[in-house]
């Protein structure tokens, strides 16, 4: 007995130090856990919500669930790859990324696949790419880079302020051609938020907001189907079997959810009452099956994610990493806005707009890009932490320390070495 106790003591000490030695961790574990939680909830709810429609369309209840798992696999792989890419690479190549996205958008307009009247997909073999998703990420990346390069112009004169808007305008034109109004709105809002945070002049900023609102109103009035969506949103019960159908069904799902929901798998509205139950209206199924508690959980996780992104942006700017800071801001605002539109639309606060719920909704492209965005946040955080360590230990010794640290925590070795590659560049 006594021998055993003596032998155990150092092991326990080791475990304790591993657990509590925060110095050993070079990445933001809570952020990862939040993302993983959202992905897991997404998988469960997508599986539940897609079963009836999958059974009807493909005679296989797990058709969409299986695909979702495959997309998650791709997304995690993509995220792991993204983790290896130093932020420096993003900073230097953001212009090229933007150009490539514009090229793909043009290609889509020329040879894209048309589904439900929208030309949004570019089919390459069995894979179909929805360029709108990478377009968002790369635009924010470009904007972050631009704001850093032309910081003075942006804050000092109108030209600097207008230039990024021109880029946005080109993208918006291409997207509206598809048409993909939702993506344009996300881009616009995020651009606005970034300009605001970067310190654009207030009169210019509000002028832009006003212009944007006018443009949106004009676009809505111009297209009849958008107008219909807006009127249906204003009073869905006026025509509950026509234009208000989706929204009223979604609201009923919320109503049936109550505090703790009908129980997982017990949604009634997903049984073909609610179209797009696993994509645009995933929140409604979540609300019905898990109740208000489920909605609060998902909202809480997303809010934590967004706040973490914004705080990370702060930290980066304060640490002289303005590009990373703006990029993190952009991702934060983007996630926040998509959450608002998706849940807001299903809860009847906003007109219906086909935007996914970050990390939760079904949809390969969105899932992959959103997971990559989270990976970028982790990478930014990681680089900041390593900076911090270097600052702490003093410039010349930093490299050595990092190496020592990485041997201590073998898991992080790979990242640490990739970081070195980055710094060697």
């Amino acid at each position: 007995m006594s021998i055993a106790t003596v032998n155990q003591a150092p092991i326990l000490q080791k475990i304790f130090s591993q657990k509590h030695d925060t110095q050993a961790r070079h990445y933001d574990l809570p952020l990862l856990l939040i993302a993983l939680a959202l992905l897991s909830i997404g998988l469960v709810i997508v599986t539940s919500a897609s079963m009836p429609v999958a059974t009807r369309l493909f005679d296989n209840p797990f058709h969409f669930a299986f695909r979702h798992v495959v997309y998650m696999g791709i997304a995690v792989t993509a995220a792991l790859v993204t983790l290896q890419i130093p932020m420096y690479w993003w900073r230097v190549s953001n212009g090229w990324l933007l150009l490539s996205v514009i090229a793909i958008l043009i290609a889509i307009l020329l040879v894209g696949r048309t589904v439900n009247g929208s030309t949004r997909w570019l089919a390459i073999g069995p894979i179909s790419i929805q360029a709108a998703e990478p377009a968002k990420l790369f635009l924010f990346c470009y904007l972050a880079g631009y704001l850093v390069r032309r910081y003075e112009e942006v804050t000092e004169n109108l030209k600097g302020f207008i230039k990024p808007l021109a880029v946005f305008f080109v993208l918006a034109l291409l997207l509206l051609k598809q048409p993909d109004f939702g993506t344009v709105i996300v881009m616009f809002t995020t651009t606005l938020g970034l300009l605001f945070l970067a310190g654009a002049k207030l009169w210019q900023f509000f002028g832009l907001v006003l212009t944007g609102i006018c443009a949106v109103v004009a676009l809505v009035m111009f297209e009849e189907y958008r107008m219909k969506r807006v009127t249906a949103f204003l009073d869905p019960w006026a025509d509950p079997f026509g234009s208000g159908y989706q929204l009223t069904q979604s609201l009923m799902a919320y109503g049936r959810g109550d505090l703790f929901g009908q129980g997982l798998g017990n949604s009634l509205q997903k049984l073909e009452f609610l179209p797009e139950a696993h994509t645009d209206f995933i929140a409604a199924v979540l609300a019905e099956e898990m109740g208000f508690a489920g909605i609060i959980l998902v909202l809480g996780l997303l809010l934590a994610l967004v706040l973490k992104a914004l705080r990370l942006g702060n930290k980066a700017i304060q640490n002289d990493r303005a590009f990373e800071g703006y990029f993190a801001y952009g991702i934060g605002i983007w996630f926040c806005f998509q959450t608002m539109v998706n849940i807001g639309a299903s809860a009847g606060m906003l007109p219906t707009k086909g935007l996914t719920l970050p990390l939760v909704s079904y949809g390969g492209n969105s899932l992959i890009i959103m997971t990559m965005a989270v990976a970028i946040l982790v990478r930014i955080d990681f680089e900041l932490r390593v900076d911090g360590l270097q600052a702490l230990r003093g410039g010349s010794q930093a490299k050595k320390t990092v190496k020592a640290k990485s041997t201590k925590a073998p898991k992080k070795k790979k990242k640490a070495s990739s970081k070195e590659v980055a710094s060697d560049d």
Partner: protein, 585 residues
Amino acid sequence: MVTRQVKTNKKNSENKPQFRQWRFWLVVGVVISVFTGLAARAAYIQVIDPDQLVKQGDNRTLRVRHSAAHRGMIMDRNGVELAVSIPVQAIYADPKIVHDKEGLQQTKRWQALAEVLGQDYEKLIDKVSNPQRRFVYIQRQVSTAMADYVKQLKIPGIYLREESRRYYPTGEVSAHVVGFTGVDDDGLEGIEKLYNEYLTSTPDKRVIRRDRVGRQVELLDEEKGKQAQDITLTLDQRVQAMVYRELKEAVQYLKATSGSIVVTDVHTGEILAMVNSPSFNPNNRSNVSSHRIRNRAATDAFEPGSSVKPLAVLSALEFGVAELDTVIDTAPGRMRIGGSFVSDPRNYGELDLTGIIQKSSNMGTSKLALQVPKEHLLDTYYAMGLIGDTGTQLLGESEGIFNEARRWSKFELATLSFGYGLSVTSLQLARMYSTLGNGGVKLPLSIVKRAEPAEGERVISQQYAKAIINMMESVTQEGGTATKAAVAGYRVAGKTGTSQKAVPGGYGEEYVNIFAGVAPASDPQIAVVVLINEPGGDLYHSGDTAAPVFSKVMAGALQMLNVAPDARGVSSLAKTSNSVGGAGR
């Protein structure tokens, strides 16, 4: 290092990106308020005020489903179906859907529909012309084949609904007893109405949630309906069919207005057959006049005439004013009572009791009846079931016509002895003969099979009951009034009854012919009452009209029920049967 590179990138800019505190916190504020707003909205529509939404959801998903309810069967004593329910379809329209989907444009399909249903095209279109209405029956109780055709026409707004239709396999044979139901499966006549409650089932009720295409998702509540119960009648369909055939033939042959026959089992009081002619087809009642639907055997009362004469003899015997060997002098075949005359067709001279019955002597029964006190005579009529109901509880059953308050004069008592002054139904008469056949124990008649045998009540002594049977046997023998009622191989006891029908101010030219009897006389099993109303041909004596029918019915019933022959000299069956057969013609 990264820091260095960042610096290189902005080496020209003095004004480097910096953290703008108030802007950042404003954005954070906006983000938090966005999420709070979403949460608040969710809380409002989920927890605080979800009732309206839940109600709207329930409107779309909560349904009450009823299972198809079928009516119970009616069967005869051997389990032969007399009334069954078969599934059919009702065609109905939702005019709103018809108009919304512009179904009326498809003229050809509507014409085809009108044609297959045998309806007028214009009228059909008219039925669905009002788009405000949501439900119109196009046609009910259509066969499955026709329903299939209509289904394939695929007219928008035209739907099918399952219902059940009553079918009577035995048709007009048992129509009066069984009755029929209306289009909504409610009993309207006969047993169908009498035991409607019993036969009706209430459908099972299930409260369910359905999905968009109507499949059941969840069973919320289930309520078992009342199971329909089958009814077994006392009728024997074989006897019933045979009896109906004979009656129909006789009514036609005799050009009679109507006829009824009742066959009972004397030991149980069960009605084995009860038929009337004219009858009707319960499966197709269009253009059936109501007089055909009446169950005359139970509803129509007639003056029974001589068929009740045994009662006068019986009451004299019971009271003790006559012995079995009493002889009554009926000469000169005519007597005056009060201001009226009672007479026999001819002077029979001295007759013993058997003779009185055999010859059906009015003089004999009158003299016997006048010897017993009035109360005792009337009591005998009561006791034998000629006054009051018979126990079948059949719809519209008549209790006969008998004026109790009346002060009976001697003449009236005399006429009562040969069957005038009261009216009875065929059922009541059947009960009287059953009681005689059952050795004087009276049983209520029954049409629905009893779980327990009915309790009898002795109303006359067995000795006299037997004696009366023996006397009545002479009626069918040589010298009796109804030799044509004889049945080969069996001893048959019976009595004719030929009464004139009362008309305002007296008696008219129309007759009611009755023959009632039991067989086998040695140990009676079956009582049969044959009533021919208003024979229109040359024959109007019961011995020529009702008696031959009785013979055939009794012969058939005895055979079907496997009753052993009891006649002496059955060895010469062939010869007897020939002679009876000849007499029957």
